[in-house]
Symmetry: C2
Subunit: 656 residues, 2 copies
């Protein structure tokens, strides 16, 4: 600043402009602590523990991990009445759905009932959602069938298959608990909404296609899940189709869809669609019992063992050639199930205006699956359909899960023989009716309208699942999503700013066509943090902007370029590669006798530029708080100082 030469902003001129501050130095550990906290504890769960006596802290801690201690003391009779109705309603849905999904996973049907007994009890104690109804889900069931089925045939070796399913559930639980305890819940965020829409739609399509086996009463069916194999399997054995089964299936499907449609139109009658599956089961069973249709090709569930969940701790296999398969299945199904459960919990929480901590939910889901795997249950989570019914039925707390659990317990103890004659085709119809609701056309159309790239992600996941398999679809969806993030970082937008007439505001000339260029000055805005991944792109791009501007000025005969202002407001951060890039840009501009000026670098950027001595290099007087002030200073110099004597036409970028 002291002996400013004639091309530098004079002291008087500087005084009226604001200075860009270098934030006070912060110790490495302090900033590390801050960053770790923001990364792992963005919701600040420890806030409530501050300034509390130890005993209170203990109670708060207990309430934190077991929300039941929080709501149980203020539980009222009013609540109980509501939860009782909701609990019985979801039980009537849970029983047929549980049996259906267990069949889908190639597991004994009774497991579906077991899984609706123990896990809801655990969730009622540990979960923080008031609306979630716990149970098994179709997509995870199918995933288990396809992933474990690749290694072990469920029909040839049912015992090993069952044990692997328990083991996979155990690992899913362990994985969920670990993610929750390590507060890595944000991993779930990397599954974008678009990917989930596509994936769920695809999985629903695949599950529906699988039901053709039940509805057509086929004995042999492909083990693949892709549409080509399934269609080939269906149409190569048209002579095996059983019309009795087909007619029954279509009737029940029609009945279920009609009730669903009706309940959707009149939400007050939600219970009609909620009760429909149980009604179908009762009607179907009666029909079979009375007509002895089981002897005419209509397959039935058969014997279901009476009694509560047997323990299955000893069935967990940790030493087995299939251990890696079990772990892989557990992790993948665990993530998928958890993602659905958390999303469902969050939506209803938003509706009822309370808060859900994703990491805490993961711990609850995980504990539910660990305990479940030891009590003959397979993977459970909070499925959307059941939770929606729970919500519509007016549930108040997680008590509705306890009610459902008790209802299932009574069924297990006394009512299982009633399901002997339940035809499989009814279960297929129930699954199909539930799945058709998961194919979300409207969301896909919305994606297409708003964001084409999201639509591509969605369709990629859908096509991957339907034509490949579930894992491929998931992989496609995740890769495209992450690729998108990386591409965004690798190719940030740079825009030219112009002056909005009669103001000191400078904005994108594409967005504001009436914004004017400033003669002799090129103003560029960089719209992303500068990182190794985009540093060389930005160097090239800035060069190209300068070239284009010089060409334009030359062809229009305007005064030549003197200053390049980089608007840095949107540059949230910079790394060492980014700083090298700026140094190179400065060097190249210097050679072309252009001056580099920075406007509004943020705190983090200033700190790093300072440490790397780039501020000394460019000169503190060339960094301004706003573009307006930078332009003013440049204009001042353009008009008071004579233009740079001999502009070297070195043309740094073009010279080959």
């Amino acid at each position: 600043m002291g002996n400013a030469d004639y091309a530098s902003p004079s002291k008087e001129n500087m005084d009226c402009a604001h200075r860009v501050a270098v934030p006070p130095p912060q110790s490495f550990f302090k900033s590390l602590k801050y960053n770790l906290k923001e990364t792992l504890f963005p919701d600040d769960p420890l806030k409530q523990f501050k300034h509390q006596p130890a005993s209170k802290k203990l109670i708060l801690g207990l309430q934190y991990f077991f929300p039941i201690f929080e709501w149980a003391p203020r539980y009222s009779f009013q609540f109980l009445k509501a939860d009782l109705i909701a609990g019985i309603t979801i039980a009537s849905l849970a029983i047929p759905q549980g049996i259906s999904y267990a069949k889908l996973a190639n597991l004994p049907p009774i497991l579906g009932l077991y899984s609706s007994f123990v896990p809801p009890l655990i969730y009622a104690m540990m979960g923080s959602s008031r609306d979630l109804a716990v149970g098994t889900v179709a997509v995870a069931s199918l995933l288990i069938a396809s992933m474990l089925g690749n290694e072990v045939n469920a029909n040839e070796n049912p015992k090993l298959y069952l044990h692997l399913a328990f083991t996979a559930t155990f690992f899913a639980g362990v994985f969920q608990v670990s993610l929750g305890l390590l507060r890595l819940g944000f991993i779930v965020d990397f599954l974008s909404h678009a990917a989930i829409v596509g994936f769920m739609g695809g999985a629903a399509t695949v599950v529906c296609l699988q039901q053709l086996k039940g509805i057509l009463g086929l004995d042999h069916f492909t083990h693949s899940t892709d549409i080509v194999s399934v269609m080939r399997s269906v149409f190569t054995q048209t002579h095996q189709w059983r019309w009795e089964s087909g007619v029954l299936g279509c009737c029940f499907l029609f009945f279920l869809l009609i009730t669903k449609y009706f309940s959707k139109k009149k939400p007050k009658f939600f219970w009609i669609s909620a009760m429909a599956p149980l009604t179908s089961v009762v009607l179907g069973s009666l029909l079979v019992y009375l007509t002895h249709a089981e002897r005419h090709g209509v397959q039935v569930i058969g014997q279901l063992k009476k009694g509560l969940n047997p323990p299955s701790v000893t069935d967990l296999v940790f030493v087995s050639p299939y251990l890696t398969t079990a772990i892989k299945t557990g992790i993948i199904t665990g993530v998928i199930a958890m993602a659905e459960g958390i999303a469902v919990g969050r939506s209803f929480a938003l509706f009822k205006n309370y808060h859900i901590d994703g990491n805490k939910e993961m711990i609850a889901f995980g504990m539910m699956n660990i305990v479940g795997s030891c009590t003959s249950c397979y993977l459970t989570t909070g499925p959307f359909s059941r939770s929606a019914v729970n919500f519509n039925a007016g549930c108040k707390t997680a008590m509705s899960n306890i009610v459902m659990s008790i209802a299932v317990m009574i069924t297990l103890l006394f009512l299982t023989p009633l399901f002997h004659y339940t035809p499989l085709v009814v279960l297929s119809a129930i699954i199909m009716a539930a799945m058709l609701g998961l194919i979300d056309y409207d969301a896909a159309i919305h994606l297409f309208k708003v964001d084409k790239f999201d639509f591509i992600v969605c369709m990629g996941a859908y096509v991957g699942v339907v034509f490949g398999n579930i894992e491929i679809g998931l992989l496609i969806a995740m890769s495209i999503s992450i690729l998108r993030v990386l591409l965004f970082v690798a190719r940030p937008r740079t825009v030219v700013l112009g002056n909005i007439p009669n103001s000191k505001i400078y904005r994108n000339v594409d967005q504001y066509p009436h914004a004017n260029n400033v003669p002799g000055i090129l103003i560029l805005e960089i719209d992303a943090p500068i990182y190794f991944a985009n540093a060389s792109y930005l160097r090239e791009r800035i060069g190209r902007w300068v070239d284009d501007e010089e060409d334009r000025l030359k062809s229009s005969g305007e005064s030549s370029l003197q200053y390049v202002i980089l608007e840095m407001s949107a540059v949230g951060n910079i790394d060492t590669s980014g700083i090298s890039m700026l140094e190179e840009v400065k060097k190249i501009l210097d050679r072309r006798a252009l001056k580099l000026v920075l406007a509004n670098p943020g705190a983090e950027v200033m700190k790093k530029l300072d440490k790397a001595k780039f501020i000394e290099n460019i000169g503190q007087e060339w960094i301004y708080l706003t573009v307006g002030e930078a332009v003013e200073a440049c204009n001042f110099m353009l008009h008071t100082c004579k233009p740079n004597a001999e502009k070297e036409k070195s043309e740094a970028w073009n010279n080959v």
Copy 2:
């Protein structure tokens, strides 16, 4: 706007503020084309072809792919003199280095000479750098040895090993050409500078450690490259150490380092260090020849076949159980070698002020390796050490590569017998001296000072290479780098803005401590694009800011919060998950009787908000061009309208 209620900005007030424009709708294909162009052609290589006649286009095209057609016509005698000196200098370095690195790759030493004959000729025609000297590199050589060595033992099955090395080189070339043609060169950008510093340092350390075998004259040596195995191998056979070899090695190493140090101090005498390796070879060979040291435990190169490169097309193995190994080795070494070559070319181009197109360079490197793999060469690129010597020797064009190639050709034809007595220990000393220069302490210290995270990436890569192996180091470096990008996207910074006194400027209150809060208004800046990966974090974080602000206001007894302004300048883009997030935030704020106001959303963001009907939802009158105008409008309403009658204390986030 028509029937604005009392809480909306009045028409008069709106008129003085600027409107945020929704950019004109653009067809999907137009914006796709723009995005593809920015992604794949950021340097606009087709620009020069515009508005040119067809014949000129042909010539330009030829010159584009074969830059020799561009510089050859204006080649002068002055240039030739300079290139002759440079070429001979690099040849004197290339011969001993080539032999050494071939030994490092467990390949016959003569391959090092072959690889300095054909590839430089190809590069001279196709490469666009004027300073790059082509040759083999230590790190890639070691990688070949370790990756292929895992599958095939070079001593037991030398022929298969040799053929796999050619095949790997071929695939490296194919991969490089494909990347270049598909213009995917930016993949290299995902190797950050920090990762490369750590990786190179680690690889250099590993290569140095491997040289202990040669210097101590050991016969048996571990095949692992990690420091623990190497040290164990060295110190378990102390009785096998040969002092003759050790003394010779240390002397030559000392000599090489001294000359290097001297040349670094006085750049005029660059040729002293450039000639030192050849001098060492000559001296070492003479010494062995005269003292018959080869009979006293000093290992020598032995017979080298006279004659030029034999063809090796038929040696490429495409049907082999080791094909995948060859492809994997080719791709990994190809990427590493290419990254080094392009970085070196760019640095010198920046120095001499000309431009290098990374994608074009990849094609040149790739062609060089494809042709090389058919003429008994293994992987080549533009190594830093040799190119630096070339540059210092005053090369003018790629002609220096042709001169080097001719010098190597003469060596191959007539001088190979002279290398019979060259002791291996001299080669080890040459490699060690070259490698010590690659361990870049200064860069690591710089990283530590400027950016701790970059330092962690660097040390991760270093430790991974030294204690694990080269692939592990590379994997660690890449994963940490990408994790960093993802973490940044997942956890963007949000900052509170305050008013800089006596201005309409609003800036980060942490960076500008004298900036003042505005009563009743919370101004938040989001510093990154809003994506699925950060949407739920941002929702939580905004909620926490609002909570904190309300707590602060309550405890200090100030007037309560009425408006939340989101400054969106830095939000370069938004996806559908991001829009849902904004909708949820608006819903939550509405419930707390707070008004959401947006300031300066960019073109892309406005377009998507408009399509998703969020602008209708929030009301166009609540979107301002600057924070200043938004604050003005809010203040106007705060003071003219009575505050919202009964503020619901619903406390959306806290209510559990």
